[in-house]
């Protein structure tokens, strides 16, 4: 019986795939199409996960599986102009900007900037034609789809997204800004953006991925980002997820770190009715530094899930993880932080902290830090707390003449800014500060 319902739930994905194959025309002969087909077969076998899967125990994707989303097969500007985009995106970003509308690259709204020779900042479907040799070396090699249905689905529909390649020794000063816009539509639709970021030896880059929507309607974004950080490279990745409050967002990021590379991820989520962020970082050489920061702001009926995996495969690597969540209304938060220390990964230093602030009695937090250690000469700690605002701190502020609402806001803001202050790009920090203030005000008018 379950098998039957499962199959029916896959139906919309499979029929989407037929349409997608047709829309590709001659392109279906390419090497990449064999991978798409294999991934789709894998997806058909896996089906959507249920809460019986340990990885999805607290997050039910039944609303995604049981509804029907249509694939967007062609680019259409859908009324998006520079003007209405401006209100939604981060102000004051100096660098280049790539804009994707419902998963398709918009050349009109993008500014690919000018870069030193060899640097590629372009859209993936273009790169699949122009730089196929380079792309094939990396694409789908890090995002494993054999055990993750959503990654398999994304790989099946792999078509467009950002492709960034930084050759040896090049430092890109200004952040590269990737904007994924979802537009209004009568029927609910799905997009599968796929990004590939390759940073070679001694290179540096800073990337911002931003997911936004123009209208507050229901749609589904299923995104995958692959990042390859070469020897001594420095990569900072920031993901801002501010989808519409009716949207579904599943995002997976796969990071592969080379010797002495330094990778930082900031993942800030405050949109979506159901959102899930997966980050998998493989520290595959000695001397890696990996920093994962995360912040969740949720209210109403939102359900935001963060799953991270740091895999210490080699010795002498450090990882630091800080994830915070502020939950209001009837929202639900989930955190699962896995740290693996493999047998030979001696002298590992891994630190993980997860803190949650509950602002409402109807909010729920499920947290599961998880350490799996197979080496003996390591330092691994994790800490998790769930609690409320410190009564003494509130009293202190009130004794200084600050009213209780302002005092609560101040402390909540401080709790969140611990994470947002770690973002290096000033524009993003200011943007987040604005979002935080707006959320606090909204919470106050509701409460």
């Amino acid at each position: 019986m379950t098998q039957l319902t499962n199959n029916r739930q896959n139906d919309w994905c499979l029929s989407n795939f037929e349409l997608f194959e047709k829309s590709l025309n001659g392109d279906s002969a390419l090497h990449i199409h064999a991978i798409r087909k294999a991934a789709m077969e894998r997806f058909a076998k896996l089906g959507f996960p249920t809460t019986r899967d340990e990885e999805w125990r607290f997050t039910s994707v039944a609303p995604i599986a049981s509804s029907t989303f249509n694939a967007v097969l062609d680019y259409a500007p859908d009324g998006i102009t520079e003007k209405n985009l401006k209100n939604l995106i981060v102000d004051g970003m100096n660098g280049s900007r790539l804009v994707f509308i419902n998963g398709h690259f918009s050349r009109d709204l993008s500014d690919c900037g000018s870069f030193p020779h060899g640097v590629k900042v372009e859209n993936l479907s273009g790169a699949l034609k122009n730089d196929i040799g380079l792309v094939n070396q990396y694409l789908t090699r890090y995002a494993r789809y054999d055990d993750n249905a959503f990654t398999a689905l994304n790989t099946g529909f792999l078509h467009d997204g950002a492709f960034i390649y930084v050759p040896e020794g090049i430092v890109i000063e200004d952040p590269i800004y990737l904007v994924f816009v979802s537009t209004e539509s009568d029927a609910s639709f799905v997009s599968h953006p796929r990004n590939l970021i390759v940073v070679s030896r001694n290179a540096q880059v800073c990337i911002v991925e931003h997911y936004i929507s123009v209208e507050k309607n229901s749609y589904f974004t299923n995104t995958v980002t692959e990042i390859v950080a070469g020897d001594h490279s420095v990569v900072e990745h920031t993901k801002l997820q501010s989808e519409s409050l009716k949207a579904f967002h599943i995002g997976s990021m796969y990071v592969h770190q080379g010797p002495a590379s330094n990778f930082t991820s900031n993942s800030i989520s405050f949109g979506g009715v159901l959102a899930r962020n997966n980050i998998t970082a493989l520290l595959d050489a000695e001397g890696c530094e990996c920093t994962l920061n995360g912040l969740t702001l949720s209210t109403g009926q939102q359900h935001i899930d963060n799953h991270t995996t740091i895999d210490h495969a080699k010795p002498h690597c450090n990882s630091h993880e800080l994830y915070k969540a502020i939950l209001d209304g009837k929202s639900k938060g989930v955190f699962n932080g896995k740290i693996y220390v493999r047998k030979d990964a001696q002298k590992t230093d891994a630190k993980q902290t997860n803190k949650t602030l509950l602002l409402s009695d109807n909010a729920t937090m499920n947290t599961k830090p998880q350490l799996e250690i197979f080496a003996d000469d390591v330092k691994c700690t994790h800490g998790a707390t769930v609690g409320y605002l410190d009564a003494e701190a509130l009293f202190y502020l009130r004794s200084r003449g600050i009213d209780s609402e302002a005092a609560r806001d101040m402390l909540t803001y401080a709790f969140a800014s611990d994470v947002t202050d770690r973002v290096k790009i000033e524009g993003v920090r200011e943007y987040l500060s604005g979002v935080l203030h707006a959320r606090l005000e909204q919470g106050r008018s509701e409460g």
Partner: protein, 481 residues
């Protein structure tokens, strides 16, 4: 490093010093499991109709269940039809005196500081008239009887106090609970029953009695402890002494019920046969233990020291139902050679102002794998509740593993939950410091490990704390990290 490896090698090569077989003539049920076998067990024990019905209900439910696969332990599939589910010991043909007992075994007893009479009891030597266990048991029983404390075997309780058993059996661990608890409900052999009436403080550690009286309770034990309003009891299960046992699978169930202002302290020391250095043989210890703080201000405290068994898989939990109730869990789990342990606790906060503390210490050596898996759940009704968890792991080699899987679920804003975990090894500088002070490397490791476990040992009843410390020394003999 080479000397280190060689000492670890020695440790791995160490044999189970107390493995031997006692032939017992027994009244045995045929192999296999079906409704007739359950009727046979029930008839053998002269059980009332309701209990047989309960067993059969459990069995029918068990048939619909699947063996759980989620724990982080690995073992070959168990053939449940190939086991004997009832075997009552008739008569022993043990050694005639201590002189016939393996001297190695006696040496271990000496190290643990176990008295001569108890040594006789444990090795199965025919006990002489002076130390007749029956008479000793009777003395204890009289003393407890004066206070109204009921402490007897489970089958006796079913006969003598059927109402109490009927009221509480399955009230904490229902027969539908999990695969192994359901199996236990269907075929449980015997166990202990303990009832402390209102306002009574049990004058002795019930362990003392248990150690002498209940050495052969068998494979599917069932323990039920009920503390009425304002009562207090401290109970010690198991034994620091090595336990001989022929059963591969142990699926016990322990239920504790604490009424208003009552307190139950339950301590376990488990040192069953862990299997040989290749992981062959050894006991599978799959236990369901749960306490219910049913009344206000009640308190249940679990303390466990797990050094034996090939696989230990248990999560003593507390349901904090009464307002202001307290749950505690203190654990030391040691895995050596090929031993595996997946253990932890569940704290379910339902009542207001409930508090729980979890302290778990895992030590892995050889190829051992040690997992902490715990759940802290704060229900919406549990305002102002509080939890503190700490789980630390110590690794004594580079082939062992430590894992933590804490689950935290919070649905209440006025509650506070804290969780901390760390993993480390014994520092070379620490060993160096001790050696410099004239201690041998082995003593140094012993001392450091004992320091690591101190928080838990402190919770054990005094004499067992001393024994447990020595036990740890024996378990880790030859291990220098």
């Amino acid at each position: 490093m080479s000397t280190e490896t060689s000492t670890i090698q020695q440790l791995a090569d160490r044999d189970y010093k107390w493995g031997f077989v006692t032939k017992i003539e027994a009244d045995t049920a045929p192999r296999g499991l079906n409704e007739d076998i359950i009727r046979f067990i029930s008839a053998k024990k002269n059980e009332p109709e309701w209990l047989l019905e309960w067993r059969l209900k459990a069995y029918r439910h068990w048939l619909t269940m699947e063996e759980p696969k989620w724990p982080n332990v690995h073992y070959p599939a168990i053939d449940y039809q190939d086991a004997i589910y009832y075997s009552a010991p008739k008569q022993k043909n043990g050694p005639k005196s201590l002189d016939e007992v393996d001297p190695e075994l006696l040496k271990t007893y000496e190290k643990l500081g176990i008295s001569l009479t108890e040594q006789q009891r444990l090795t199965g030597v025919a006990v002489d008239a002076v130390f007749d266990s029956v008479s000793v048991a009777t003395t204890f029983k009289e003393k407890l009887g004066e206070l109204g404390v009921i402490f007897c075997s489970f089958s006796e309780a079913v006969r003598e106090h059927p109402d109490l058993v009927k009221q509480h059996l399955g009230s904490v661990v229902p027969y539908t609970d999990n695969f192994f608890a359901t199996l236990n409900s269907a075929v449980f052999s015997d166990g202990s029953f303990c009832y402390i009436p209102k306002g009574v403080r049990c004058p002795m550690e019930l362990s003392t009695y248990f150690r002498i009286n209940a050495a052969d309770t068998g494979q599917f034990e069932r323990t039920l402890i009920v503390a009425e309003e304002g009562a207090y009891v401290s109970y010690l299960e198991g034994c620091t002494a090595p336990m001989r046992d022929n059963n591969q699978l142990h699926a016990a169930v322990v239920e504790l019920v604490a009424m208003d202002n009552a307190q139950i302290k339950y301590s376990t020391v488990q040192n069953w046969y862990p299997g040989d250095k290749n992981g062959k043989g050894g006991i599978y210890n799959f236990v369901t233990k749960r306490g219910k703080c049913a009344g206000v201000n009640s308190k249940i405290s679990w303390t466990q020291v797990e050094t034996g068994s090939a696989i230990t898989w248990k999560y003593p939990g507390v349901i904090l139902q009464g307002d202001n109730s307290i749950g505690e869990f203190y654990s030391v789990a040691v895995t050596n050679n090929r031993q595996q342990a997946d253990t932890g606790t569940k704290m379910i906060h339902i009542g207001k102002n409930t508090r729980s503390t979890i302290v778990s210490k895992g030590i892995s050596g050889g190829f051992g794998n040690n997992s902490y898996r715990g759940l802290v759940k704060i229900q919406k009704s549990a305002s102002n509740s509080r939890n503190f968890s700490q789980c630390d792991s110590l690794l004594l080699g580079d082939k062992c593993g430590a894992h933590t899987f804490p689950y935290i679920e919070v649905r209440n804003t006025s509650s506070k939950v804290e969780h901390e975990a760390s993993t480390s090894k014994i520092g070379e500088d620490q060993i160096f410091y001790c050696k410099q002070r004239g201690l041998s490397a082995e003593d140094a490791v012993n001392m450091i490990v004992n320091g690591f476990c101190k928080e838990v040992f402190r919770e054990l009843p005094m004499e067992f704390a001393v024994e447990a410390q020595k036990l740890l020394g024996v378990s880790l003999e030859g291990s220098v990290g």
